[in-house]
Symmetry: C2
Subunit: 341 residues, 2 copies
Amino acid sequence: MAKVGIRDVAKAAQVSVTTVSHALSDAHGSRVNAATRDHVRAVAEELGYAPNRLASGLRNQRSYLLGMVNDQIATTPFAGEMILGAQDAAYERGWLLMMLDTASDPELEKKQINTLLQHQVDGIVYAKMYHQRIATPTELAGVPTVLLDATSDLGSISSVVPDEVAAARTAVRTLIDAGHRTIGFINNIDDIPATHGRFQGYVEALGEAGIDFDPALVATAESRAEGGRIAAQHLLSLPTRPTALFCFSDRMAMGAYQAAGSLGMTIPHDLSVIGIDNLELIAEGLWPGLTTVALPHYGMGRWAVTQLLDEIEASGDEEPVHMIFDCPLVQRGSVAPPLHI
Amino acid sequence: MAKVGIRDVAKAAQVSVTTVSHALSDAHGSRVNAATRDHVRAVAEELGYAPNRLASGLRNQRSYLLGMVNDQIATTPFAGEMILGAQDAAYERGWLLMMLDTASDPELEKKQINTLLQHQVDGIVYAKMYHQRIATPTELAGVPTVLLDATSDLGSISSVVPDEVAAARTAVRTLIDAGHRTIGFINNIDDIPATHGRFQGYVEALGEAGIDFDPALVATAESRAEGGRIAAQHLLSLPTRPTALFCFSDRMAMGAYQAAGSLGMTIPHDLSVIGIDNLELIAEGLWPGLTTVALPHYGMGRWAVTQLLDEIEASGDEEPVHMIFDCPLVQRGSVAPPLHI
DNA sequence: GCTCCTTTGCAAAACGTTTTGTATGTCGCT
DNA sequence: AGCGACATACAAAACGTTTTGCAAAGGAGC
């Protein structure tokens, strides 16, 4: 079956292409009689007519295409959530998403953005797989853009990031509310917003509860299971042994579980553990399940596209919005009251 | 800066748009003098001219767009690899990928495929997140399509899937080569190709080594950590206790680690474990690292797009190809010779 | 009965390319 | 010198839409 175009519909409905076009778009519906409009629509339906978006895009200067450029799609488990959130929001409003992965290569990134532009994308979601501060690529000047999981030196571009400080506060408060007073913190070693923000949240939550901050209770390592294991082993052999550990990431929490196991401690009876990320694979796989603070990747992806489309459709110079997303607690089984010693 | 079109280049270079078009595409390069061609190219470069793919797509009846429809992008960690492989292959050949997630909803899937078709995609990659046998959606008739991680009732569509049997054989052979003779198998409970294929591979590998197959050494459960833990606890308390466990998935292997730990066994000294999937998050996070057989998602994604583009460019009725991908062993630290008892 | 609106439909131009057909030279050959 | 062959450049049509301007028909007001 050959593709059916608007002229085929026109011929079949015994009207001109103009009338068909008007009949199908309610915007100019007033220019066509209700009866003929219904007739045309019926014929179009019957023929299975679907407008060629390429042609209409050319005519309207609007492609209904959005670009999404990511660094490292593959290596991070968050990507899926962010992409899905973005794609859902786009699809619901009639847009389609074109995904590209720069593999963190600035040269490639340039070329990819230009390719996107050649395809006349109406806007671009510039996504990072973990929260960071970036210099916006110059290619993006002039194209509606929203930053996802990143903030820029230029304040002129809308952006969305998670509230790192609040996330850490939530985690630490959860431990405090369970009765813990000696809370270790296994922090990341990288110089990124999450590291600093979560440290700040940790300190703040302790302060709120009137607990003195003890630098000895903070250990840093690479944000992987191994780093978490080593750091936890260190903290758990301290004279002032913490009864609970707040871990920078679920991966580090996984290491903390291993350390606890090798020291003969059971979670949450002998030790409470809380993480950040809510990586299903880990948080649900661990035994007992890991209580953790979720990074709202789906929601952020959704928000980014929604904001982008709003800006595109308004197309007046809107004020950029800098969104900070809340991070909800996900309770499983790794937090309990401390042992009485 | 307003968009620069081909007529701008023509004006600046003092030639006609025809000449510009010919000068820029080497295909018809013979129709233009080498000198003017270079001149035109220089001018185009200087103006930063990039052709409008929408317009050229309309003219050429080729959009240089590919659709990729997935079930469940977000919930599976494999998605990233498959998407990346597909995207890389597409980009290298000048194509762009439009991603859609059907959330396993057939109604939505139909609509999404139609949306893709409206955008005049040149072909579609129909991807499943785990190997399965499917009925091809009728919407796809007439559109070049390749099945990714799925096979169809119709043999007329090219497809690519992993070699489940060989993957299992590889895993079990690895254990046998290490000296094990009593090898437990923790299998999935779902009725999917992987379940049957891996069981077959397990039996075959035992047979090759002259080991009798013992049904008591096979336990089934849901393919999650919890299922793996329970199944492993069962197998490890058998009178004929296996010295090694072959796990259907890395997630189940994670459960096997937990069972071993709770029984006071250390891996790989007291028990060898091998998985399938090579989920970095788990396989590298476990301690010791999990030896596992990788599912080649990146490679399959790449192959699917490459095949699809070949079929599109040949556009004669090519024979469909049904590809079966090898699954390589990834060695870490969870396999060792059995204890002498 | 005439003018003036309103309703309804159509023809044609436009979006930015690519490609076919044609025109103008220029050269080589007889 | 005359003819054809070739090289080079351009005009125009086409891809499938949307929208503007225009025309015809019908109705209302004077």
